[in-house]
């Protein structure tokens, strides 16, 4: 092969700079990102090499590997030069997607988001069907909190139970809450992570306008992805409200002695940190505290955990893409859970629960129940 002359891809370099990805040029090619990336556990992919080529503007980000990134931030959390790799990825995705070169499946997701305001393709008028039979009221001023349900909890049959569980817990604790019902739209996280900033903005602005209109001041989110978007992305658009993840609210309710839980016998439980709750927002202790408050629960820590936790594989749009069984991080996670002898694998994110449950069903050597923290707590309500 003859060497080609370097011809910098100026347009892409400009785009990356505009999208705030200029920390890219700080990279000194130590490869820590590659070896830290969960993909390195299951297949060959060099994050470093992608950055290398992008630094020189000779491509590298436009290939298929670009769409592997789960935006889990494990790399950025360790990068010795402070390169904001997920932002580089996001910027590159938006550049590639603008040229229509993203995976077909993601085109569909974008379509759903644009037409039905959710990535799953559910009908907008069925958004609040998850709450059928429960007395969930529309949010009005004076209520303690707005429950932001999120698309997965609204449409996915498995995750609907999480939302329903949370309703029972809030009722039991005497928290007054409401939802936006069918007026809620996707928080925009999927759009943002797959590189469609405009779509994100239109969704976010729509929600923000509804919050404003209904006088929402305090939001509780079910999905850490909603939580992250509401907490850190919406304020950039000028929105202003308090937001917390439901595990933070539950921890507070327990502190105030407003939840009575009964024993589950002597159960070894392990907790999987969702990336968007942990690395993105530093919420490590509250979910653990909630689990440990269930009488009988014995919390065992998997390796790795907390800031080093292994991604489930669902973020950054990966939940919508097919991953071959031998490349699923969630399979590794199941093995790690089994290594500490857990019977229950708890997490606090719809994507994590979906992925881990799939893997548990296909790879667990002995029964390993995958539960969302909310489900587990609701089961143990006294």
């Amino acid at each position: 092969m003859t060497a080609a002359a370097v011809r910098p891809f100026d347009e892409m370099m400009d785009e990356l700079a505009k999208a705030g990805a200029s920390s890219l040029y700080l990279c000194y090619q130590c490869g820590l990102c590659t070896s830290t990336c969960p993909w390195s556990e299951v297949r060959d992919v060099s994050v470093r090499k992608m950055l290398r080529q992008a630094q020189l503007g000779i491509g590298g980000l436009e290939g298929d590997d670009l769409w592997l990134c789960t935006t889990c931030r494990a790399c950025a959390a360790r990068c010795p030069r402070g390169v904001d790799i997920p932002t580089v990825i996001r910027a590159a995705r938006s550049f590639v997607a603008a040229a229509g070169a993203e995976p077909d499946r993601l085109k569909t997701v974008r379509g759903h988001l644009a037409s039905a305001q959710n990535p799953w393709g559910g009908k907008p008028e069925e958004r609040s069907r998850w709450a059928e039979g429960l007395n969930v009221r529309p949010f009005e001023k004076g209520m303690d909190v707005l429950l932001f349900v999120g698309c997965t909890a609204a449409y996915d049959p498995r995750i609907r139970t999480v939302a329903r569980a949370l309703v029972r817990i809030l009722d039991a604790a005497g928290v007054t809450f409401g939802t936006l019902g069918n007026d809620e739209v996707c928080d925009g996280d999927p759009a943002l992570r797959i590189g469609d900033g405009d779509l994100f903005r239109s969704l976010a602005e729509r929600n923000a306008a509804t919050f404003e209109e209904r006088g929402v001041e305090h939001i509780v989110a079910i999905s850490p992805h909603s939580f992250e978007a509401l907490k850190h992305e919406y304020p950039k658009l000028g929105a202003s409200f308090e937001v917390e993840h439901y595990t933070q609210l539950l921890a507070r309710l327990l502190d105030q002695d407003r939840l009575k839980l009964r024993s589950d016998g002597n159960v070894p439980v392990t907790y999987h940190d969702p990336c968007y709750l942990g690395r993105y927002n530093g919420v490590y202790e509250e979910p653990r505290k909630v689990l440990e408050s269930i009488p009988g629960v014995r919390l065992e820590e998997m390796e790795p955990n907390r800031a080093d936790s292994l991604c489930c594989g669902g973020g950054g749009g990966r939940i919508f893409l097919e991953t071959p069984p031998e490349e699923r991080f969630s399979n590794l996670r199941i093995a790690q859970a089994e290594r500490v002898g857990a019977q229950v694998l708890a997490s606090a994110c719809p994507y994590c629960v979906l992925n881990l449950e799939d893997s548990s069903k296909t790879t667990a050597k002995s029964p390993l129940a995958v539960r969302d923290v909310a489900e587990y707590v609701a089961e143990r309500l006294a």
Partner: protein
């Protein structure tokens, strides 16, 4: 206006045409002559030439000038020279000001000669107005105390103390640990020559210990420092050793001491061996320690911790050298200069949990490996794993904490070579396979690249990549019972899992924790935490505080070669400073009119140099002229106008402003 009493001369320089081609110097000269109190106005081709200066001096003498304005180039060029000439001619040099008509008129407005000329007139008028308001200033000097304190007795401090002592200065060498020698005394060999570290250090330790001009204080710390012109008074705390000079070094106390014994509830690890071996409560840090005087660690001693129940050391001591009644003592040390040589300590590798330091037994940091390789170390120089067997393979991870914005952004400069040294010694002593995990090899000293070549030729593995973790979880049979280093080999572009028996972390160098000392000495730190030097490039051994010098790793990470060189330079600077006998105080600093001061403390609150304080008894602010830099922040916050900066008083500046103002320009 009434004629004043001042006699001011104005000298306008042509600068060989640089000025006169643009500015009408005749017009400026005539204009200047009309200014109040101007008695001489002249122009000359080159004011900076010998003839020009002679003209200046003659006119000063002839006319009895007590004020001069030279209209020429920027004051940054020749202000000092003109002031010197004026002084020689018998005029107070601080009555001379420069009107910068070259850079600010002839150069900047060369296409507008008329405007340039008008502006030149204004600049001359402004300086004449200022000079009219100037007062002659005395340049004060303060005698410099002839002693020097060297703080820290590692290789930098020892070397500096020796040179200063040899130069005839009275040196007080202050070391906080029980022995001198510093980190270098822990090393086995030094790169790139692989000399035995103690063989080169030990003679210097002995020299400084026995030097007639060096007063050595070990186990002593500087607690406070008070600065006066030409003098520092250090308050040094002599910590109690509980062992008197009568100690004959027989070691019976150490042998008898029950602490750290197998059944002892009180256990303590050897600082000297960095936790790799236990030590007794009464001990000598290592066999060649100087002074050869034992030290009792009261914090881990049964006598002190268990209500006087022990005291066996005193019973076995043949010299009756144990004295439990000792107390810390404060000693005042007066010196004229201070050399700060407080050195470094290794970065705490447990801050990066992924590398398993403190979690896996066979993960060590570099200084520990020095001890493991040293014949005086805990394994008598045999490199052994915790289980007592020699390693078959060793991984050395570079840049642990260094070059990492999460920890220390800077390069620690020595780790590359130190890692090569470990690689060589480990291969030489154990034959183990050695892998270096590096990002860049920095071999930038004399003989270093050659050393790199030599070690490479010894079949040491070099993997370019920063490992993500060290783990004991095996994913393949080769990893069973091993520590596996996971890394991207960035040259091959593949992720490797490298199983080894031992991991060495080449940790960053941290500055020794001397915040208290730096605060007492009013020294600043650079953003990296090391002592801030006066100028990084051209004056790396002095500090912003006159009379304080810095040497060795206190200033920045460096190897022994550079440490010695800088210690020598610091000693030279200190010696010259002391040898000058007196220091000139910059007269352009703040002064307080006590009649106006109301002791409100606003001046001392804004001062960045601790140069002004309020005397609580006299209720007046007092300026320390050695510390004041003359920035004038205090003058703006002073409510009463009591504090002013000489040569920049409100009347002086306002006079300039008035003269520059549009009205004043009109003829």
């Amino acid at each position: 206006m009434t004629g004043g009493t001042r006699k001011i001369g104005v000298f306008i320089c042509h600068c060989g045409g640089n000025i006169s081609d643009v500015v009408d110097v005749n017009a400026v000269r005539e204009f200047a002559a009309q200014q109040d109190e101007v008695v001489a106005s002249t122009d000359f081709r080159f004011m900076c030439s010998n003839q020009g200066q002679a003209r200046l001096q003659e006119t000063i003498k002839e006319k009895g000038l007590d004020g001069v304005v030279v209209a020429c180039c920027t004051p940054k060029m020749y202000e000092d020279m003109f002031r010197g000439s004026a002084k020689e001619a018998g005029m107070n040099p601080y009555l001379l000001e420069i009107a910068n008509v070259r850079e600010q008129c002839a150069y900047a407005h060369r296409h507008e000669p008329e405007q340039a000329t008008e502006k030149a007139k204004a600049l001359v008028a402004a300086q004449v107005a200022k000079v009219r308001n100037l007062r002659p200033l005395d340049v004060k000097t303060a005698p410099i105390h002839d002693g020097v304190a060297v703080i820290g007795a590692g290789i930098a401090g020892i070397h500096a103390a020796l040179l200063l002592g040899n130069a005839g200065h009275k040196v007080t060498l202050i070391e906080k640990s029980p022995t001198i020698g510093g980190n270098m005394a822990r090393f086995d060999k030094t790169f790139p020559t692989l000399d035995c570290a103690m063989c080169t250090l030990s003679p210097k330790m002995n020299d400084v210990f026995n030097h007639p001009n060096v007063d050595l204080m070990t186990y002593a710390e500087v607690k406070d420092a008070v600065r006066a012109p030409g003098r520092f008074t250090l308050t040094v705390v002599q910590k109690p050793r509980y062992v008197t000079d009568a100690c004959i070094g027989c070691n019976r106390c150490t042998e008898a001491c029950p602490v750290s014994g197998p059944k002892s509830p009180i256990k303590v690890e050897s600082e000297w061996n960095l936790g790799l071996s236990p030590r007794k409560a009464i001990y000598l840090p290592f066999s060649q320690a100087l002074p050869q005087q034992w030290t009792l660690d009261a914090d881990h001693c049964y006598y002190f911790q268990r209500n006087h129940t022990c005291g066996i050391c005193a019973k076995v001591c043949p010299a009756d050298a144990i004295d439990f009644t000792q107390r810390p003592e404060e000693v005042q040390v007066e010196v004229g200069a201070v050399v700060v040589a407080t050195g470094y300590r290794p970065f705490d590798a447990s801050q990066i949990p992924q590398y398993g330091f403190g979690k896996y037994a066979d993960v060590y940091h570099g200084l520990q490996v020095e001890r493991l390789l040293s014949s005086t170390g805990p394994t008598n120089g045999k490199l052994l794993k915790k289980d007592g067997t020699p390693p078959q393979s060793v991984g050395i991870i570079h840049c642990v904490g260094s070059r990492d914005e999460k920890y220390r952004s800077y390069c620690s400069r020595v780790c590359c070579m130190a890692s090569l040294k470990y690689a060589h010694l480990i291969r030489e002593r154990t034959g183990a396979r050695v892998y270096n995990f590096y990002m860049d090899m920095r071999a930038n000293g004399k003989g270093y690249e050659e050393f790199y070549q030599r070690v490479a030729s010894e079949q040491v593995g070099f993997v370019r990549g920063k490992p993500t973790r060290v783990t004991d979880q095996a994913t393949a049979p080769e990893e069973e019972g091993k520590l596996t280093i996971v890394v991207e080999d960035t040259l091959a572009g593949v992720v490797l899992r490298v199983p080894v028996d031992m991991v060495v972390l080449s940790t960053a160098m941290d500055p020794e924790d001397v915040d208290g000392l730096l605060a007492s000495l009013k020294l600043d730190k650079s953003p990296d935490g090391f002592v801030k030097e006066y100028h990084l490039k051209i004056n790396p051994t002095e500090t912003a505080v006159k009379g304080i010098f810095v040497a060795g790793c206190a200033q920045s990470p460096k190897d022994i070669t550079d440490t010695i060189a800088q210690a020598g330079a610091a000693a030279m600077s200190a010696s010259m400073f002391l040898g000058s006998g007196s220091m000139t105080l910059n007269p352009l600093v703040a002064e307080v009119n006590p009649d106006l001061c109301r002791a409100c403390t606003r001046c001392s609150e804004v001062c960045e140099f601790d140069a002004v304080r309020v005397d609580p008894e006299a209720l007046v602010a007092i300026v320390d002229e050695t510390s004041c830099e003359g920035c004038g922040k205090c003058t703006v916050v002073c409510p009463t106008g009591a504090i002013t900066v000489r040569q920049f008083t409100k009347t002086q500046i306002a006079a300039s402003i008035d003269a520059l103002a549009p009205k004043a320009v009109a003829p």
